[in-house]
């Protein structure tokens, strides 16, 4: 039963991390290239455009949920399992989510990169 709780926690952390990452990436694409915008319209335009984008706040909210789920999950399971498992699943989940929701061209190169990094993180943090 404890196992189910821990893995439920890990999946919840990964899910909300992916949601947060995707929303933040989407928001920043809607804001536009920050360098170009800063040069042409000034810093204030960049700040106001970021602050008025609802996806930013939803993304931060999702990341906050992920963070507090991590705190809870750590009280049930070991840091050496929960943190790397959640980080690895987030990398893989992001590749799927970026392809579906952000329409990124996730080619073979990027799949291999995501899998290698996910495996590496699992080994490094485990």
């Amino acid at each position: 039963m404890k196992h189910a709780y821990i893995w439920g926690g890990i999946l919840t952390i990964a899910f909300f991390s992916v949601v947060g990452d995707v929303l933040l990436a989407r928001a920043m694409k809607q804001v536009g290239d920050v360098h170009a915008l800063w040069r042409s319209a000034g810093l204030w335009t960049v700040v106001s455009r970021v602050a008025s984008n609802p996806n930013i706040f939803m993304g931060v909210a999702a990341m906050t949920v992920a963070f507090f789920t991590l705190l809870f999950a750590l009280s049930w399971g070991d840091l050496s399992l929960v943190a790397p498992a959640a980080a690895s699943l987030t990398f893989i989940g992001n590749a799927f989510a970026a392809k579906i929701f952000l329409h990124e061209k996730v080619d073979r190169r990027r799949w291999i990169a995501a899998v290698l990094v996910a495996a590496g993180v699992a080994l490094l943090a485990g």
Partner: protein, 165 residues
């Protein structure tokens, strides 16, 4: 990809890794914080390591958002995962900790993953025109050589300063 963009990616990597390790060092000095004693979190921020760690992580967040404004999520995430490698290498060579064979293998896998996306295009996604900011839509129009909209005299001026060399 310009030199400045590579610099931003390097910044995401370094500030993320440094922020994590400085903050964790500070929190170890502060000690356990009970969920029933949340006001003690305010005292935790008075620890210089915790304060510097938070500043470093804030810089990380700003740089990460900057990178996401011109690069794909599936490009930024692997590219900046070198931070894990930096942490392990600093544990070995600065803190003189023992790094196990499993961890070295992890370093090799992450570096390999980063190698796979290095040199590939950073941006492949294209937002629909209506979702795009008017400024960038105008920039695309200028790039494609199509005539600028008749009402867009201001946009034209902006475009001339936006188009990258």
């Amino acid at each position: 990809m310009t030199f400045r963009k590579y610099l931003v990616l390097a910044g995401v990597t370094v500030f993320g890794a440094a922020g994590d390790s400085v903050l964790s060092h500070g929190m170890k000095q502060v000690g356990n914080i009970s969920i029933h004693d949340l006001p003690s979190l305010i005292f935790a921020v008075m620890n210089p390591y915790v304060a510097i760690g938070i500043l470093l992580l804030l810089t990380f967040i700003v740089l990460n958002m900057t990178a996401l404004s011109w690069a794909d999520l599936t490009y930024v995430l692997p590219a900046t995962s070198m931070g894990y490698v930096l942490l392990a290498l600093s544990a070995r060579f600065i803190l003189h900790e023992q790094v196990s064979l499993t961890r070295w293998l992890g370093i090799v896998l992450i570096s390999g993953g980063v190698g796979f996306i290095a040199g590939s295009p950073a941006l492949t996604s294209h937002l629909h025109e209506e979702e795009k900011s008017p400024l960038l839509a105008a920039k695309d129009t200028a790039r494609n050589g199509a005539p600028a909209p008749a009402h867009g005299t201001h946009a034209e001026e902006v475009v001339s300063s936006v188009v990258e060399p």
